[in-house]
Each structure stands twice: as C-alpha cells, then as structure tokens.
Amino acid sequence: MLFPTLFGVVTLVFFMIALSPGDPARVMLGERASKEKIEKLRADLGLDKPLIQQYGLYLTRIVRLDFGESIKSGQKVWDEIKARYPATIELALCAMIFASVLGVWIGVISATRKNTWIDYTSMVGALFGVSMPVFWLALVLIMIFSVNLNLFPTGGRMNLRLFFQPETNFYLIDTFKLLLKGEPEYFLSALHHLILPSVALGTIPLAIIARTTRSSMLEVLKQDYVKTVRSAGIKEQRVVFRYALRNALMPVITVIGLQFGMLLAGALLTETIFAWPGIGKWIYQAIEARDYPAVQGGIIVISTSFVLINLAVDVLYSVINPKIRLQ
C-alpha cells in the first residue's frame, strides 16, 4: 500500500511539473539570454531528452534519494530541504501540541456539561475556528499581540541580535543545549518566536479536535460500561478521565494524525506571514521560479511524510486498542 501510493505521487509530480508551461532554462538565464546559451543549459539539465527518458532518469535518482540540484541556488535540493524542513516540523509540532491539549480538554468539558453555556460557547467558538482564513487570523494576532500590546515578535525564529549557529535546525533542541550550559536567552527567544505562529496554525486543528472529542466522548458516556463504573460509586471525574477518555480518544488520535500531516504543507500561509523559513514557503518560491528539482523534491518529501504519519497513526491505533490487532 505504501509503495504504490508513493510511486504514484512521484509520477504525478513529475508529469505535472514537466507539462507545466515555462522553461526553467529561460527563467534562469533571463529573457535576454541567447538561444545557444539556453540550448546548452537545457542540455546540461537533461531537458532536451525525450520526456519518458527524463522520467526514467528521474526515477533512478529518486530511489537513491538524489533530488538533484536546485536550479535557482545551485545547491543540492536534499541539503536545502534538510535546512528548512525542521523549521516547519518544529512549528507544526508546537501547533499540534497546543491544539491537542487544549482541544481534548475543551471537548471533554463540553461533553460532560452538554447543553450548558460552556458547551454552547465552546462549540460556537470551534465553528468560528474552522471558518476563518488562517492567514487572516495570523494578521489579526500580529496586529493585537505584536503591534498594539508589544508582547510577541512579528516574525522570524530567533532574535537576530543573538548570534546563533543552529546544528539540527530544530531551534528548541539546539538552544536547549545552550540552556543546559546556563545560557537560557537563546531557548527563551526561540520559544517566544514560536508562540504566535503556533497559535495561528493550531487554531483549525484545535477546533476540529475539540468537536471530535466532544462527540466521541458523548458516544462513550452513553455506553453500558460507563454506567456500570458509575454505579460502582466511583467519582465522576475519575469515570470521565480514567475510564471514558481512553476509549473516546480513538477517533481523536486519527484526527490528530491527519491534521498534523496536513499542517506540514498547510503551514505555508502561516510561514509566509511570520517570515518563518520553512519548507512550505520554500516550495512556493520554487514553484514561482520554475525550479523543477526543488518543487519535485519538496512535494515528494512532504507527501511521503504525510503517508508515513497516517501509517504511524494506524500502528498507534492498534497499540491502544487491542481489539484491532486481533482482526
């Protein structure tokens, strides 16, 4: 299942890019370049060969994880991805932690106080959350919290006055080492820069998780075993958190996995607003510049992560719910 899907994705990406209008050689050399120069570059890039031969070559390289070199920067696409993907993953992870913790909590509260004002407010809030454009929310957050209240930076990953050499490009990991050495300002600055973009990016998943948790929790609370536990005189709070929540979380985990996979690409708009040097923004710029190898490499890496995350969710699901393993 995994490999045919990935093969299909790789093929689709290749032909969609190859058939799109615009000649990368011309884009690189500019409109005034001579015909000979363009022809030579096309030959160097292998663009003069028949399409099917280009496709064959491309496949053999992909298998070796060789995405070629970026037309725009001349660097290896894989190296560029390694420099940018961690920024996106870090942002998406923080957004998901924010969304999952708060979302499950709101969902449980709403379910246990069904049809009270708390329930109505949270569910109306959740509906607003899924109905607003992310990039608009990001702008409004910047307007309120950065510009007017001056609480958070408007963008970037780190205070530029702190000269900082990242190793892994996961800033929280890199700066944590410095924190242990007694230099907390780097870690705090990275965290400070993460808060607003995480809230903006996490709002839609937050709303979806809260709604899923609520309906799943309501379903579970109706079941016989919950009534049995209740009649045994166990405190309601313990019934909810110890007995009901475990089963209610099953569909929530699926939603969390799916949303996380989508955030990796969906971060693009948030990255653009917060000047976050992630992979979404990089792919978007590559599309604009007709930088084919970069676009192909970027999309393949994101799609692969997406498929792998879904696979991981399935595995996790069977670990939590032993019934599925038996089947």
């Binding site: 045919p4 109905s131 702008l139 409004v140 693009l268």
Partner: protein
C-alpha cells in the same frame, strides 16, 4: 419507466415525502436555520451587488485614502488607494459565491460520475479508480491546488478549477461508499429485473438515494472552497488586483497592521461569516440526514 413509477408508488409510505420531512427537521434545527439565513443573505448581496454597493468598488479617491469607518460618506472607510471598503466587500460576496458554485460544481460533477461508476461496477475499474484517489489524497491538499494553479497559470478562473479538481477525491469516496451500500437493495434488484439499463439504475434509481451524504459534503465544500480561494489569492495565485476578492484584500492589507485596522479586519470578517454560514448549514444537515448522530 412506467413500471418503475408504479413500483415507487407502491413502495411509497403513506406519510409525507422524505424531502418534506427533512425540511421540517431542518426548520427545527437552530444551527441549520442560522446557516441558511446567513447563506441567503450572502446570496442576495451577491445578486444585487450593483444595487447595494454605494460606490464603484474599484474607483480610487487618493485624497480620501485610509479613511476610518463611520467618519465620512465611506461608511466602512477606505483602503490604501481610497476605494470604498463597503462596496468592495459587497462585490467580494459576488466573487466568493461564484467561486463556491464553480468549484463545487466541478467537484460534484466529476466526483459523482466517477464515484457512481466506481461503486456500481466494482472489480478492476473500482480498484484502479481507488488507487488514483489514494494518490490524490496522499498529496497535501494545499500543495495540490498550488501545483495545479502553477500548471494552469495564476488567475481567479484557474484557482476555481484547481480547487474543484482537488476536491473531487472526497466526493468519489463518499459517492462510492453510498452506491455500494445501495446497489444490492431490493428496489435496485427489482428494477434490474424489470429491464432497467445500467445507466438508469446508476443515475435514476441509486443516485437519488445517495444524495444525503453528498449534500452535506457539498455544503461544507462550498465553505472550504471560499477559504481556499482566499488563500490562493493571498499567495498571488488567484484573483489579481484590482479585483475586490476578500483574500486579495487581506493580502494587500499586510502592511497596514500598524495603521489601519479596518483594512485588515473587515475582509476577514466577511469571509468568516460566509464560511460560517455554510459550516452551520452543513453541520445541521449532517445531524438531520445521518440518523446515527441523532440524539
């Protein structure tokens, strides 16, 4: 078709038709009615935009630029080029509704066609279609639309087409599942025995019974099409200036977060309200049409 009609009359319950019954339930659902009212309001605004808009949405008045709301004849203020915000928002409703209709139309047409074929015939046809759907769903949605727009070239029309295409897989899945659930039913068997063709069975007998989940998805899809086109326009891949499209208005407001809050907030609120309408109605419809979720 005479034989089929007789059959339907025999089977029909003495009570009211399902459609009328659903309408009664819809009227009782507060969420659905709130959604419906919002949607109707936006449709009216879209249709009568030229009558409602106090000014020309693209006319510039440089002297009056960045005028705050409620201080001049520009009720909701003006943008950085002195264009009337209210008129631009009203015309924006027209554009967003068009986007929804076209994108959902494309997705519905191909989604239903392919989904019905996939579910009805099964076997090899179904396998191939489902593999293709898997591949499309493995693509992160936003990248799929961006790549399609990049292939077609950035414009509002192409953005609508791209959003429509990338929504097709959802409908294929939903339609296929409900067709597979319906196709072994007694009424289908009976009509088949009476000599109905595959086409009649697929589109005249089975499809009308699959409309419930499709209408829920289409309502929610309408809202997400509006959101996505705003996103594409924000990236410069959809509507082009000076079109009064909401996403584009938000995009061009980026530099005014420090100086003119209304240019930033108003188009976002308009988008939010319109999408909220479709989400409310979609939720209401799902509660009514999916008996499993009924309390």
């Amino acid at each position: 078709m005479n034989s089929t009609e007789t059959l339907n009359t025999i089977n029909a319950p003495a009570a009211e038709s399902p459609l009328a019954e659903h309408w009664h339930q819809l009227k009782r659902s507060k969420t659905a009615m709130a959604g419906l009212i919002i949607i109707l309001a936006f449709i009216l605004i879209a249709v009568f935009a030229p009558l409602l808009a106090p000014m020309d949405p693209v006319a510039q008045n440089i002297e009056m630029r960045k005028t705050a709301p409620f201080v001049s004849e520009y009720i909701l203020g003006t943008d950085d080029l002195g264009r009337d915000m209210l008129s631009r928002l009203i015309y924006g409703a027209r554009i967003s509704m068009t986007i929804g209709v076209i994108a959902v139309g494309i997705a519905l047409f191909f989604g239903i066609l392919i989904g019905v074929i996939s579910g009805y015939y099964g076997g090899m046809v179904d396998k191939v279609i489902q593999r293709l759907v898997d591949i499309m769903l493995a693509f992160p949605y936003i990248l799929l639309t961006i790549v399609i727009v990049a292939v077609l070239g950035p414009s509002l029309t192409n953005a609508m087409v791209a959003i429509g295409i990338s929504q097709i897989p959802r409908y294929i899945r939903i339609v296929r599942a409900s067709v597979m659930a319906e196709k072994e039913s007694d009424y289908v068997m009976a009509e088949r025995a009476l000599g109905a063709s595959d086409f009649e069975l697929m589109f005249l007998s089975i499809l009308p019974n699959c409309l419930a989940p499709i209408s829920v998805q289409a309502t929610l899809g309408f809202g997400s099409a509006i959101l996505e086109s705003a996103g594409l326009s924000f990236l410069g891949l959809g509507a082009q200036p000076p079109t009064p499209e909401w996403g584009l208005m938000i995009a061009s407001s980026k530099e005014f977060v420090t100086s003119a809050w209304w240019i930033v907030t108003l188009p976002g609120i308009a988008t939010l309200l319109a999408v909220l309408g479709f989400n409310l109605l979609g939720d209401g419809l799902r509660d009514i049409l999916d008996p499993r979720l009924r309390d």
